[in-house]
């Protein structure tokens, strides 16, 4: 077993450290770097929390280095990991979707309503059901649409219907059922909304 490890280093730091180690004659640094890069990639795929750009830079540096040193299988393997990273960027991920809706938030509630209702709904119907403004519904709709969880369908740019995508249905079924707003929650929310809206106004106007 190798004693060399890059645990807790960032991917780019680990590449630099491996290069130093190899220069000092520690050939087991190749294997240690491979373990660390693979762990970083898997962690990114599962959680989407790793800094993707930094991981990409590290994989690029590592594969170039291995290429230059003519070290296989590392050159091929790390180029392949970079390919997987690129592919992951194009594939929907539950972790990102959950982050996009925020399981307890209003976007989650809106998704759940759309999943539960037997027909597509218009934004005005959601305004009534959720007690939000049309602008808020529009913002939530955009958020869910960007995450690939709902589709917006319009007719000649006038009426719009919102409906879940297949992934939206799957995620919506995992979310808690929406409960009607209590009076207290409605009262609590009103000043918060106006507070956030005021942040967009010029300072003098607020004063």
């Amino acid at each position: 077993m190798s004693s060399l490890q890059f645990v807790d280093l960032s991917p780019t730091e680990s590449v630099e450290r491996a290069q130093q180690a190899v220069a000092e004659g520690h050939t087991d640094a190749w294997g240690a770097l491979d373990r660390h890069l693979r762990w970083s990639l898997i962690s990114h795929l599962q959680n989407r929390t790793e800094n993707q750009d930094a991981l990409g830079v590290a994989l690029l540096q590592a594969s170039r280095w291995a290429d230059h040193e003519e070290r296989e299988p590392w050159a091929t393997r790390w180029a392949y990991l970079l390919e997987l990273l690129r592919d992951a960027d194009r594939q929907p991920a539950l972790a990102s979707e959950l982050r996009a809706v925020g399981p307890e938030g209003r976007a989650a509630e809106m998704l759940r309503i759309l999943v539960d209702h037997p027909n597509p709904l218009r934004p005005t119907e959601l305004v009534e059901r959720m007690g939000l403004s049309i602008q808020q519904i529009s913002n939530l709709g955009r958020k869910l649409e960007t995450a690939g969880l709902i589709s917006r369908r319009s007719s000649g740019g006038k009426a719009i219907w919102l409906l879940p995508t297949a992934r939206g249905f799957k995620l919506g079924e995992l979310l808690p059922a929406p409960s009607p707003l209590s009076k207290e929650e409605e009262i609590d929310e009103a000043p918060e909304t106006s507070f956030w809206q005021k942040l967009d106004e010029p300072v003098a106007k607020i004063a």
């Binding site: 970079l82 597509p120 006038k158 297949a166 249905f169």
Partner: protein
């Protein structure tokens, strides 16, 4: 819980019709859903796209009616759910059966459109699995082969400020299911194409580097045509004179020119490094095999502070398994071969043109009766997806001629790096504008016009076009064989 199996016996006879794209819709659908081997979702996607395409006028008229918008959204929701079930074929057939007897024939067409939208979204989620795949439909379903292409990245168009973007987009010029239904996938019918598109992904390392450079919100291109003083060996074969005249081909850079060519090449690379060039392009029939090997060696070993990410190394006549081809090669900045494109369209010099250009005839070794490029033609257009968009590198006539024009549009190619050898740049200018309007494509042409005359020509060495208004097609007439510009400079933003 799944529904009970669909009672196919009720429709006995329906699926025995000889079907075509213009057969009644329900007959085609029933035959498709009940056929053996069982239809896959991807097959249904391709079939519905074709069915909607042949009825596109009818469909467009339906969708203009506000009354259809709500049923369309409802059907799509239902189809989205049905397509996730194990017995999706039976469940779809139930829906069709319900509407066969209806008094409104458009209802089934709208249902097809809604199902197509649901399939489009479903397969978008499976993009990695679906992109670049082809589906063959059985003869009973009208036959045909369909290629699934995702939409390309559009970084160059995205750099164009909103007021400068072309007002007229591709959607205004087309009437196809993708535009009318707002679909994500580009579906290309392959069966009648003499040249087949072949999709591949750009090397991940090159992609990552290009994506990094794009973050500067600019990109530097260099169009280099540096070998005007060099001499090339050209072999003609009068013994094989035929209907297309005398065949000829470029054989190599003459040995006495090799040293100067290598010097020019190094100078170009050093200037590109100094000017921080990202994409470097050379013209047609200039870098022979020796010179390309030299280029690769320089890219691999030369200590350059900055190197291009992508090098389109022009083209040359090369031996490919015993046949001569006109081949364009594309390398990474580290000298790795990324892909190559062979010429697809035959180039002929007709007798009328040959008669007017005795100088050209002497150069190519042909006579006044004309000549033709002595090459084996490719049947494939390589299209390469990467962070710069969907790249193709058609050679000269493949770009400015009409033969591949529709294929570029159908496959949504939006970045064209073109090696050319021409004395007339006008057809290239027109094609650049045409593809810019149709597909939002950017075109960069590097020309070796000087090969066509004894005297050195500084005219028409390069062309650059961005799909922006009012940026014209820019051409380069200059004694400097290297034209370096950034996208922002082309747009007049710096």
């Amino acid at each position: 819980m799944n529904n009970p199996p669909f009672p196919w016996h009720l429709l006995e006879g329906c699926n025995k019709f000889v079907l075509s794209m213009t057969a009644p819709l329900h007959e085609t659908l029933v035959a498709a859903l009940s056929g053996a081997p069982p239809l896959r979702r991807l097959d249904l996607h391709a079939l519905l796209h074709r069915l909607c395409a042949v009825r596109i006028v009818n469909l467009r008229n339906c969708l203009r009616e506000p009354a259809w918008a709500e049923p369309l959204a409802k059907f799509e929701r239902q189809a989205t759910l049905i397509l996730e079930k194990g017995d999706w074929r039976d469940q779809l057939a139930q829906k069709i059966l319900r509407w066969i007897g209806g008094d409104d024939p458009d209802r089934l067409l709208v249902f097809c459109a809604a199902t197509l939208r649901a399939l489009d979204a479903r397969h978008q989620e499976r993009r990695l699995d679906v992109a670049g795949s082809t589906v063959s439909l059985s003869a009973a379903l009208g036959g045909g082969e369909t290629l699934f292409l995702p939409p390309p990245a559009t970084p160059l168009s995205d750099l164009i400020p909103q007021p400068q973007r072309l007002r007229r987009g591709p959607g205004d010029l087309k009437s196809d299911p993708r535009e009318i239904l707002g679909l994500w996938w580009h579906l290309v019918a392959l069966e009648d194409l003499p040249v087949q598109p072949r999709l591949q992904e750009l090397d991940a390392r090159v992609s990552h580097e290009l994506a990094g450079r794009l973050k500067t919100l600019d990109l530097r291109f260099a169009l280099a045509s540096p070998f005007a003083e060099l001499l090339y060996g050209i072999r003609s074969d009068p013994a094989r004179f035929g209907a297309d005249g005398t065949p000829y081909r470029f054989s190599e850079l003459r040995p006495e020119s090799l040293e100067e060519a290598q010097r020019n090449l190094l100078e170009i690379l050093e200037r590109c490094s100094e000017l921080k060039v990202d994409v470097l392009c050379f013209p047609e029939l200039t870098l022979d095999t020796d010179l390309q090997n030299r280029l690769v060696l320089l890219l691999k070993t030369q200590d350059l502070p900055h190197r291009p990410v992508l090098v389109m190394a022009g083209s040359f006549h090369v031996d490919s398994n015993g046949q001569w081809v006109n081949r364009c090669r594309i390398f990474s900045g580290q000298g790795r071969l990324l892909f190559s494109q062979d010429k697809c369209v035959p180039y002929r010099i007709p007798a009328s043109q040959a008669g007017e250009s005795p100088e050209l005839c002497a150069l190519l070794g042909i006579d006044h009766r004309g000549g033709s490029e002595d090459i084996h033609l490719s049947g494939f257009l390589e299209i390469v997806d990467g962070p710069l968009g969907r790249l193709a590198t058609p050679i000269c006539l493949d770009y400015c001629g009409d033969q591949l024009r529709d294929l570029f549009i159908a496959t949504a190619v939006n970045l064209l790096l073109v090696p050319a050898m021409t004395s007339r740049m006008e057809p290239f200018q027109k094609r650049a504008q045409d593809l810019g309007t149709q597909s939002g494509a950017a075109s960069f042409v590097t020309n070796s016009a000087w090969l066509l005359g004894k005297k050195r020509s500084d005219r028409n060495l390069a062309l650059a076009y961005l799909p922006a208004h009012p940026v014209p097609v820019l051409t380069r007439d200059s004694a400097d064989p290297l034209w370096v510009f950034s996208i922002r400079e082309l747009l007049g933003l710096t």
